[in-house]
Every structure is written in C-alpha cells, then in structure tokens.
C-alpha cells in the first residue's frame, strides 16, 4: 500500500515541471513520440540511433560526412578485416587488434570477410585474395573476382577518395588488378608497398556489386555515380530501406547475408542535430544510442540508470595548425613557444572533463611505432615560452589569429584558454569563429596563421599517418610543413615492405616533427559510446564509427 489514499500519482510542482519539460523536449524533436511508440512494438530487434546527421551521399568515393560512415559500414563489406579483441580498459567493448605481429603475413592479425584466404608477397609487390563462394549482394548477384577488379577500376577512373587509396598502395594502371579465375583476384605492383594488405580493411575500401551497377550504368555515367549517391549495391549485412536526408535513414538486415542475419533487424538512424536533445532521447529511452556528445553530457549520462557509457582511447587527434608560410610561424622557436604556452592539462580538465589524454606525439598513440619519447613540452611552461619568443626576435610580442569551428563546442573554450595563456607572454591572439559549413574551406585554403584541425588516420600504420600530415606534397599537410629529410624518410618507408626498417624511419620522422613543432599539440579525445544499458556488442574501430551488425540485446 502506498501512502497516497487516492491511489493516484501524487502531483507536486516538481512532477508538473518534469512533465512539462518532457513534453517540451519531445516537441523539440519532431517524431520523437511517434518513434517511442514504434519502438515499444519491436524493441528486441530494432536499433534506434540519435545521430547529428543523416547520410548525405552514399557513395564512399565522394562523401566523408558523419552519417555516411555508418551507412557505408553497414551496406558494404571489404575483403578482410582486423581481428577483434576485448578492450583492455573496458571489458564490455571490443576493438580491432592493430598490433604489429612480426610472424604474421603482412605483420597484421587479419581475418577474412569477402575473401576467405589470401597470400601476400613478403616483399610487398603482390597480394592474392581467394573470395568466398555463394556471397550475394543486396540485389541477389553473386560475388566474383570481377566485382573486385571493377571496384578498383572505378577508384582509378574517378580519382577521388578511392584514387587516393590506389595511389597510396602504388596502383597506377587498371591492369595491375587481375581476375585469376572466377573467385581469385590479385594486385600486382611495380614497386614494393607495405600497405597492400593493411589498407584493405579501410572503411572506404568496400567492394561493389558490379553486375548491378553495370545494369543501370549509362554512357554518361558508366560508374553509376548517380545511382550510388542514393542507393547501394554491396555485399554488406544491411540494405537501405529509406533515406530522407535531414530526417532519418532506415536500414533492414539481410536474411541472406553470408555471415548470418544481424541481430538488429531494423536500424533507424535519426537526425537530431543538437547533442542536448540526443542526451534527452537516450535518457528517456526513445533511442538506443546517442552519438557525438559533449564531455559534460557524457559525465551527466553516467549517472542515468538505464544508460551505459563507455569511453576508450581512440585515434582522434585535435591540434592547431601553425602555418609555416605565415609569419611568425616560419620560425621554429615561435612554434615551440606556442606549444610551451598551450594549457594542455587545463584544457583536458576544464574542456574535456578528463575524457581525453595529452597529444604527446604526431600520430595516434595506439598505432604501432608511436614514440612519446620526443614529447618535450610537458606541462605549460610560460617562462620557457617567453624566452623562446624573445630569442626568435619578438621581444615585444606579436599579434596573430586562431580560427576555430563554430560547430565544435570544445574548440571555442580551448581557444579562450589558449588566448589567456598567450596574453601572459605578450602574444595577442585574436579569435576567429568560422561557421561549420565553411570551416573546412578555411582549412584547405591554408590562409590562416593558426587553425584547429581534428582528424584520425584510418590506417594503423606510422608511414600512412606521417605521409598524410607531414610530407611536403601531401594535400592535407595544412601547416605547410617542409623538411627535406622528413620527405625522404616518408618516401623511403612507402617503398619498402621491411616493417622494421620502416619503424626506424618513422621514428626519425617523429623526432624531427616533434622538435620542429608544426602543430600546437592538443589532445587525444576519447571515443564514447552512450547506449541503452541492455545493448551489447559494441566494437571500436580505428575509423571512429559504429557498425550496426555488431549490436544485440543482452539477456
């Protein structure tokens, strides 16, 4: 018996306020209530995700937006993947085993996906993949070697993201990819390349159903660009049921998937642009996963009974590009001074609430070959920073500007903390808030003295990472960093499959880069999974996205 004689729910001012707030919250997110009703019907096999955006273009050749990552990962499969292992810090989560294994082929621990076996030249000039038989696409066509050949021909022909990958593994001509029978395909390179196998599991190296695309191809569009923008033709575990951009994407599990039908029959990726609303929906049980939350929201969610929050070290890095072609950042002492002045510890504490670690190197610290020994900046040291500024000839200080992304809530407070620190050494830092829509134009134009950048190299290899950010000819070397010796080492590491020699070369590159400091080294933010407590199976991938096929209801 309750103490309420009427038997009704006691109504207090707080109850009314809570009810009003919940109703307001639901009203803010169109369809939230409807979504809740639908979920109650078939929760066991339905996964609802509150995401910041729906997929824009489904063709991995042309789109790297947030929603597209999840879509590509569920609609397509690659030839091989990294073996998974339990995460050391969070036992309920798994992660890719990207350790360097000197005794394994290609020194990697991989398992087959579309390929059931493979051989790799220890010298790195060829690789041969034997495909599984009986694998069907979402259009019912069987996987053959021709699909793999056509996929790589498409990358070479379109020359966009896939073109970059082809170039990375030294594939220059279509005839270098050969079908050796109906279910065997080989890659044959002119020069040794260490990434021939390692790059295959990359999220953006999916294999297409060439039979379907050839059916719909036209003379004007022989590679099915228009079709793949809005639909899929792959061998992945899901098919696209519907996509209303800006609202939601619905995916259906394929019963004929070669690894068995995924546990989650229906996946709804719902666009909820504001992170606060995503938190509300997860707390209210209207969604199973809330993506990309702010540190304080993550801390708050940890207290919710029906929610599990897992946060683990990831490949994300946040840094500030110091443009070497804009003074005073051509001067190494000034760049080093900026690093000594950066309040890294305070940023991790105040802005990231401890959900990040210091960026103590120039590549992800979970990748093979990372060496933190070259990190010398340690805790904030304004005296050393001031001395370096004076030695560089700026005894009276200088004025510069820092551009930051208005759409990333951690960048503004980080910039303000940095501004206050620099003021103490006579550097006047002007802050430039750039709308999210145009921020990446600012980055690629390389016209700012200082600009934030967030990235993660998707291949767990030191040569791949160094080439991206520090080779003078790299298209994403946004700090305009140039060092002939660094270029020489990176080029050398790209032409040999001898991993021991490559690790040595990349170690030297790290030494040069850390000494010359082309970045203000920021933080490694953790990757966080905020999910319903009964959802299990989460695996962390180096591409920092989730895969629907991993999830199931616990118990």
């Amino acid at each position: 018996m309750s103490g309420n004689p009427s038997g009704r729910m006691p109504v207090s001012r707080r109850t009314v306020l809570k009810g009003t707030a919940a109703a307001a919250g639901a009203a803010m997110v169109p369809g939230a209530l409807k979504m809740s009703e639908a979920r109650a019907q078939d929760r066991a096999s339905t996964l609802v995700i509150a995401a910041p955006a729906t997929p824009q273009i489904l063709d991995s050749e042309y789109d790297v937006s947030l929603g597209t990552f999840e879509a590509v990962a569920s609609l397509y499969d690659s030839l091989v993947e990294f073996e998974k292992k339990p995460d050391e810090g969070v036992p309920t989560a798994s992660r890719e085993d990207i350790t360097d294994y000197p005794d394994k082929p290609g020194r990697v621990n991989m398992v087959g996906k579309l390929a059931e076996s493979w051989e790799v030249d220890p010298g790195g000039t060829w690789a041969r993949f034997h495909l599984r038989k009986g694998v069907k696409s979402n259009w019912g066509n069987e996987l053959t070697a021709e699909d793999v050949v056509w996929t790589w021909h498409r990358k070479l022909a379109l020359g966009a993201i896939g073109g970059f990958f082809a170039n990375t593994i030294s594939l220059k001509r279509p005839e270098q990819i050969k079908a050796e029978g109906s279910h065997t395909v080989s890659f044959n390179l002119d020069d040794p390349n260490p990434l021939l196998l390692k790059l295959q599991p990359n999220l953006y190296n999916p294999i297409y159903d060439s039979t379907k695309i050839k059916e719909i191809a036209t003379d004007d569009d022989p590679w099915g660009k228009s079709f793949l923008e809005n639909d899929s033709a792959g061998f992945g575990p899901y098919r696209l049921e519907s996509l209303v951009r800006g609202q939601q994407a619905v995916f259906k599990a394929r019963a004929d998937y070669y690894r068995g039908k995924p546990a989650m029959d229906t996946v709804i990726l719902k666009e909820v642009p504001t992170s606060a609303n995503r938190v509300q929906l997860l707390q209210g049980g209207a969604v199973d996963i809330a993506q990309y939350l702010q540190p304080l929201e993550i801390i708050q969610l940890r207290k919710a009974a029906n929610v599990a929050v897992e946060t683990i070290p990831a490949t994300f890095m946040i840094w500030i590009e110091l443009n070497a072609k804009i003074e005073p950042f051509g001067n190494i002492d000034v760049r080093r001074a900026m690093n000594y002045a950066f309040p890294q510890e305070q940023v991790i504490k105040a802005v990231f609430q401890g959900l990040a670690s210091p960026l103590t190197g120039c590549m992800p610290d979970i990748y093979p070959g990372f060496n933190a020994a070259y990190w010398e900046f340690g805790k904030q040291d304004l005296d050393t920073a001031r001395q370096l500024i004076v030695e560089a000839g700026y005894a009276d200080g200088f004025t510069t500007s820092l551009a930051y992304n208005a759409g990333d809530p951690v960048q503004e407070p980080t910039a303000i903390l940095f501004q206050s620190a620099l003021r103490e050494i006579g550097v006047n830092l002007e802050l430039k808030k750039v709308p999210a829509a145009t921020f990446y134009n600012f980055v690629t134009e390389r016209g700012q003295p200082m600009i934030f950048y967030v990235d993660s190299p998707w291949c767990p290899d030191p040569g791949y990472s160094m080439n991206l950010y520090f080779h003078s000819k790299s298209f994403i070397n946004y700090s305009n960093y140039e060092n002939a010796r660094v270029d020489e080492l990176i080029d050398g590491a790209a032409r040999t499959a001898d991993m021991s020699a490559r690790l040595e070369m990349m170690d030297e590159v790290q030494k040069h880069v850390m000494k010359e400091a082309p970045w203000v080294f920021g933080v490694f933010p953790n990757y966080t999974m905020a999910r319903a407590a009964d959802l299990a199976g989460w695996t962390y991938y180096t591409s920092n996205n989730m895969r629907f096929q991993d999830f199931h209801r616990a118990g």
Binding site: A276, V279, Q280, L296, E297, Q300, I416, K432
Partner: protein
C-alpha cells in the same frame, strides 16, 4: 521651439530688464525652468512608477558601462581553468563559465559593447533616416523629378523592410565581415527605414503649416526651411522611437552574437555569453547563460519603458492628460 510654439514667460522676462541684468536673469530663469522640469519629471515618475523603473534600469546599465573597470571584481576576458563552471558563490557571485571566467564581471562589462553598438547604430540610423525622410516628405507632393525620387526612395524602403530583419542582419555581417563596425552598420542600415517613414509622415503635415509657407514666401531656400523649421518641429516621434530602438538593437546585437555572427569571443557581450553557456543548461550548469539572459531582458525592458515615457511626454495631448492627473492627485489622496 522656434516658430509655432509661442512665447513662454521665460522668453518674455529678459525684455523687461536692463541689458546688464539680462544675463543673470536669463540664467536664473533657466535654473527655474530646470527645477520646474525636474519637479515635473519627479511628479510624473510618482504617478507612473513603471517609468521610474525604466529610468532606473537604464541609469544602472549606463553606469555599469562607464564604471565597469571599477565595479567588476575580475578581468572580463581572462580565463581561469582552475575555476571552471563554479556555481554562484561568495568568490564568484554569479558563478563562472566553462573557461573559468567570472560571469558577474562579464555581465558588468557587457553594456560597454552592447550599448555602444546599439546607441551608435540607432543614432546613425536616426540621423540618416530623418534627413532622408525630411527630404522625401518635403518633396513628395512637389511633382517632377524630386517627387519621382521621393517615390523611388519609399519603394526602396518597402523592399528593404520586406526582408526578415534578423536574416538580413546576418547577411550584412557575413558580407562585410564580423566586426564591431559591421554590426553597427547592419543595425543602422536596418533601422533607417523606420526613421525615414516616421520623419516623412511628420514632415508631410508640418510642411503645410503657416510658418513654413511664410518662410517659403520670404525666399528662404528649401535646405534652410527643412533644416531650420521642418526638422526641429518633426522630431518628437523620432525621439520617442530612439529609446525603443536602442533596446531592440541591444536584442539584435545579442541575437547576432548568439548565432555566431556578432562580436567575437571572448568579448563580454550578453548574447555571446548566452551562446557560450546554453549547452550547459542540460547538464545542470545554468548560470553561465541564465544570468546574461536576465541582464539582457531587464535592459531591453528598461529601454522600452523609457521609450514609453518619452512617447507620453512628447505627445501634447497625452502630456496634458498626464498633467491633469497630476493636479487631481493631491485631491484624490486627500
């Protein structure tokens, strides 16, 4: 007033005395007039206490803007990461934001930016809009090229006012770049049609008055008639609009900052402070955005009340009614 206001007792008094005493008498007359005006204003504020609240708010905000360095306990733009997101306490009366900046100090400093932008934008628009409005109103019915030009100006303002104000302001700031000058220019540009229309309608009635016609017959130039006779006699509605517009401009400035098109962080500005703190409301840290929101609301309310009082005092009929109620008040109280 110059032409049609008639002579007051204060104007006549100097004529009755010799030249030597004229200056002293004039001065004491001005003092008497001031005291009379002050007494009148105090009486009005007693009858309409909301007006007093409005003046009080505006005075406090202006004093904050002037004496911010003396009042604020902390520098407004210096982050202190050791004190981030502290709830209101004795050391930080209104708490701190995500970077440890003192919310109270920033609220005190904010009127410097908000009022500067709002007052500069409003004054520029009032001057430019009034001048154009006076010319348009004066020539509206004169026929010929001048009349055509007046029509063209009015249709242009129609087009300008057809755009949603806030979106238009964002577009202007985006085009001219994010700076204090751009925001002032955007506010001035958006407000010009308001003053233009007010002045034009007023001028169209004033220009038919006898003293204007007399001046015209006397051979005074159009420019002199407009500047000396028409504009001074058409200013009342413009003046009453000023205060309301300053409040509205403060709101627009804050809105622009909230969407990221206004002042640059960490400049202390109420809208920018709300934008920096609103994400923390859901996680329980309401103070970085709620207190600046309250300051903004109270300030706009204050200027609206002052605008309402000016509207009453500048309107002869409503002023007479108010004076009437002042005379009746002691009787009613008795």
């Amino acid at each position: 007033m110059t032409d049609n206001s008639g002579e007051s007792a204060n104007d006549i008094a100097p004529r009755a005395v010799g030249a030597a005493g004229r200056g002293r008498l004039a001065q004491s007359a001005r003092v008497a007039a001031f005291l009379h005006g002050s007494r009148f204003l105090l009486a009005v504020l007693r009858v309409r206490p909301l007006f007093a609240v409005g003046y009080g708010i505006v005075i406090v905000v202006v004093l904050c803007a002037i004496f911010a360095p003396l009042i604020a306990p902390y520098p407004p733009e210096t982050a202190n990461p050791d004190d981030f997101l502290q709830s209101p306490n004795w050391r930080h009366l209104l708490g701190t934001d995500a970077t440890g900046m003192d919310v109270f100090s920033r609220i005190i400093w904010a009127p410097r930016i908000d009022l500067t932008i709002a007052m500069a934008g409003t004054l520029i628009s009032a001057v430019v809009g009034s001048l154009i409005g006076a010319a348009v109103g004066y020539y509206q019915e004169s026929g010929g090229v001048a009349s055509f030009f007046s029509g063209f100006v009015m249709r242009s303002t129609d087009v300008l006012q057809a755009f949603p104000v806030f979106v238009f302001a964002i577009a202007l700031v985006a085009i001219f770049g994010q700076s204090l000058q751009s925001i002032i220019a955007a506010i001035a540009f958006l407000n010009i049609p308001i003053y233009l229309r007010l002045m034009r309608s007023q001028v169209m009635s004033v220009r038919h008055m006898r003293f204007v016609e007399a001046s015209y017959v006397a051979g005074t130039s159009d420019r002199a008639i407009i500047m000396r006779h028409i504009i001074p006699n058409s200013m009342a509605p413009v003046l009453s609009q000023l205060s309301v517009n300053i409040g509205w401009s403060v709101l627009l400035t804050a809105g622009l900052s909230f969407v990221g098109a206004g002042v640059v962080a960490p400049t202390p500005e109420w809208g920018s402070m709300i934008a920096m703190g609103f994400q923390n409301i859901i996680t329980g840290q309401w103070w970085p955005s709620v207190f600046p929101g309250i300051a903004l609301a109270v300030t706009v309310f204050g200027f609206a009340l002052v605008g309402a009082s000016v509207e009453v005092l500048a309107d002869p009929a409503r002023r007479r009614a108010l004076v009437g109620s002042l005379r009746e008040r002691p009787v009613q109280e008795a």
